[in-house]
Symmetry: C2
Subunit: 175 residues, 2 copies
DNA sequence: GTTCCTGCAAAACCTTTGCACCACG
DNA sequence: CGTGGTGCAAAGGTTTTGCAGGAAC
């Protein structure tokens, strides 16, 4: 039971089939082949909006009727990273291990994350002034900057409200 | 064969036994106990200058004559994270998994990293202007900032030199 | 004395590898 | 057709868990 292969039109990239191009380029340059599994991978990866994990990706593939093995997912994930299509961003929640996490490398706009240390909520943001300063720092050390990962960890508005409420209550009884 | 327990005087923290205090506070607040294993852990962790991994830490403990099991290391590492004494910074090299990595949360000066994507060299830096802007971003989203992780990935001076040399050579022959 | 902690061994995971078969180019 | 890719199963690592004995408070 097979399914026709969709052309990967990546919303994240500048909608021009950039991801496909990147992938083809990498494959060509290394003598790789464009198998149907790789087409599926690329299609799904390009459809994903946010972060994803290998298992996660496998599930989506299966759900969409692409029968791909986890091994292949792993093998091609590193390929996609090397092609510059996705990026690894190992992130842990609450101190325990979660495993690899991937996300699109956006065509133009880069985004960073605000993470709530209480509820784990993740908010994306981008702030060009910070990006600019990063270039400055890199230059100071003689580095040419390729990319960066910035994660701000703090307490989100909701959890702050909840905590100040609790603190007030505790103060009333215990103090 | 036992060894006397050193008082943990943490060079990273403001040398005032801050780590000890943080740890005791956490233990007290959760009904935890100050076992000799935990004292050892704290001592060694406070002596470590840079990054370390669980296995790594275990080796150091053994080398110093503290007989602690790997299980205990793992269990207490997350405790130390919760106490705000160390921080997890999962970092992968070259796209493949390396495992958890920890480092001190410095008393005052926070530092970030510049990483070379070619040779893996890591350079620490701190830049207050960036820190300040991060506060701004957090505030804009209603977050109160606790900490952050910033990693700048690029090419270090040495590798840049090496690459431009190679590029020049290639240009001479191939073009 | 209670609890909580430790160490051991085993389980649970995630990721990589070896190998036979298959398919892209 | 030849080489590289896939799937499966098994290996390799790291991290977590169950349990009995021991230690802190």
């Amino acid at each position: 039971m097979q399914q026709e292969f969709l052309k990967a039109s990546c919303a994240a990239c500048s909608s021009e089939g950039l991801c496909e191009k990147k992938f083809h380029d990498l494959l060509r340059s290394s003598g790789g082949r464009l198998t149907k599994e790789r087409k599926s991978l690329l299609t799904i990866v390009c459809d994903i909006k946010g972060h994803f994990q290998p298992q996660n990706l496998l599930a989506m593939l299966r759900r969409r009727g692409y029968p791909v093995s986890l091994t292949t997912v792993y093998r091609n994930l590193s390929l996609l990273v090397r092609a510059g299509i996705i990026r690894r961003t190992d992130v842990q929640e609450g101190g325990s291990h979660v495993g690899a996490r991937y996300e699109h490398v956006w065509g133009r706009a880069h985004h960073d994350h605000l993470v709530c240390s209480r509820c784990g909520r993740r908010v994306e943001f981008s702030y060009s002034a910070i990006d600019a300063l990063q270039e400055v720092v890199a230059a100071q050390h003689g580095f040419s900057l390729e990319r960066h990962t910035l994660e701000l960890v703090g307490v989100c508005p909701d959890c702050r409200t909840a905590e100040s409420g609790r603190r007030a209550a505790a103060g009333r009884t215990a103090r």
